[in-house]
Symmetry: C2
Subunit: 349 residues, 2 copies
């Protein structure tokens, strides 16, 4: 299995996020990727590559909105231009176009721009966010190209910030560019007529769902904590099945907080059956490992050993597969859990 | 002129608001109303009343959404039920249903409820917010009844938090219940067929506009800093003229930051002409005094003496008039500026 590593992820290191009326330390930290890479190394995954750090913008611009990309690229410079003292603080939204307001209002104000694109206050934009995201996007695109060409059966992209909460023109949930969507689009562009995205992160991949919600060529399937009680709350319900041409091509399998692996695994069977029925010729896995029992911000009860089983069950789909790192905040154990998925996939392959 | 005072405003005393990526002290403080009342007293406004502190919910529920009101009423209890340590922090939103998300999602999560109704992170809900708002609403309704009955030509409601940014089902801009809208609705219910609301606050009254945007019986007129650069950014443009039956019954007069009184006054003439042409038989003034030159968060250049002129120009409309206190954050001078409006209005009457 090919591992794609991206050192520039370190340049995205947020200081604070809003949680219950206060600013707390960010839980999505650089150490996460380092621990995953360290564990993969210990397990003997020897084929580790560092792709170019600049993504193919043709792909990025086919998944994301041009104005949104321009905003992300220039955000830090605009922030510092407001006040050089802003360098001591990350960018967080303070106002946004909720109901009754015009999202398309012709305002030039920087805070208003931030709020136009943000859906939470947990995702600080830092000096290095754009570079880190672009390098992650490059890795995801490269992984998809290697798998599409048949030169690899599986590739794992170890990068951060994660991507599955980011949509065509919005960020949130620690995500800015949607790496899984970029990988899926790359597979489509390389000739795979039908691509499936399987999201096993604890949190619903609202960004990924919304990017492909009106498309029949990319099936999106997600197993996640029920948004009735779990983040991101406002999307991820079972009745969301796609719209227009995309109707029937989105599958949400929300599960109550406290779900253990027996029940979770049955959902994975259902998800993989849907992928097979869809006739996908390639698979992207949005690999969050926050379904782990000790994850500090999640609520499923999976053990580390269960992630090995997940890897082999995914391998049983017999599809060229790109794994993209998403969430997982039990930092000490997340390396083990990701490596278990990789091992389960590789050994079953 | 009758002054209506509300002591319970003090129970709303937010600790922090988000500003440029950090939490800063609230600028909308209890001292604001106290200084206004002190100055009115010094000027000899002797008829000061304290109405009942519970508003007529029939009026409140005709302006605001029932689920939103239930949320506000129960918010603090739900907040403390999450964690008793939350008593040390005010409620601020951390996630909200921006684009791509379902505002109507059936989530029970408390943070998701907060975000459903909030459009900024500058408006903390505190232990006493609901009681303070309800007492303010009661004062606004009582003022409108006294003016409607003909027993008073003018009444000034000195209360806080302000109201003009609050809509039927949203809060923001330090506002939770829309006192000006409640006064206007009360005047309508008392038989005034056509009521006008004139908003002279520096910031566009987006809540008031949206409440009456589809109605022809209440004209909304606002003179304010151009939302292209000024808060609330996403509403308040000149091309917003009302919708459906309300088309033609909303007038926005945005002015660039840095506007002085000469130009401002010409806009007031235009606004008062619109009120006269509309045929209003009663007027509500959303009285922010943050157009003052030294206001810390605003950008017009009005002098204190200009507020006296504003009061007499409004009196020249010869309409029963309810003034409701909105913004104004040059705390030391705001008492003078509000009293100047009251004096200008009374002496011209
Ligand atoms: Zn997650
Ligand atoms: Zn204001």
């Amino acid at each position: 299995m090919l591992i794609l590593q991206n050192d520039r992820h370190r340049e995205h290191a947020g200081r604070h996020e809003m949680y219950r009326g206060r600013l707390v330390e960010c839980v999505e930290v650089p150490e996460r990727a380092e621990l995953v890479l360290g564990e993969l190394h210990r397990r003997g995954f020897a084929r580790v590559e560092r792709p170019a750090v600049r993504a193919d913008m043709t792909v990025v611009e086919s998944v994301h909105d041009l104005r949104y990309l321009a905003f992300l690229r220039q955000a830090w410079d605009h922030w510092i231009a407001l006040d050089s003292a802003n360098a001591s603080f990350d960018i967080l939204p303070s106002v946004w176009p909720n109901q009754g307001l015009r999202r398309d209002a012709p305002t030039q104000n920087f805070s208003a721009q931030v709020g136009r694109y943000a859906f939470d206050a947990g995702s600080p934009i830092t000096r290095g966010t754009w570079d880190a995201c672009l390098a992650g996007a490059a890795s995801a695109i490269e992984a998809a190209r290697r798998v599409a060409s048949g030169s690899e059966r599986g590739a794992l992209v170890v990068t951060r910030p994660p991507g599955h909460h980011a949509g065509r023109d919005f960020f949130g949930g620690y995500c800015f560019l949607n790496n899984a969507a970029l990988a899926a689009q790359t597979l489509r562009d390389a000739g795979h007529a039908r691509v499936a995205i399987l999201d096993v992160d604890y949190h619903h991949g609202n960004g990924t769902q919304s990017i492909f919600y009106r498309r029949a060529d990319v099936l999106t399937v997600s197993i996640h904590g029920d948004p009735a009680t779990e983040y991101p709350f406002y999307l991820g319900y079972a009745d969301e099945r796609g719209e227009g041409e995309g109707e029937g091509f989105n599958l949400n399998r929300p599960l109550p907080k406290g779900t253990a692996f027996d029940a979770w695994r049955r959902e994975l069977d259902i998800a993989l059956e849907a992928v097979a029925r869809f006739g996908a010729s390639a698979l992207v896995v949005a690999l969050g490992v926050d379904a782990y029992k000790a994850d500090p911000i999640s609520g499923f009860l999976l053990d580390s050993a269960d992630f090995t089983t997940i890897g082999s069950l995914i391998a049983s789909a017999r599809l060229p597969t790109v794994f993209v790192l998403e969430g997982g905040y039990a930092v000490a154990e997340m390396g083990i859990n990701v490596a278990n998925v990789a091992e389960g996939f590789s050994l079953a392959g």
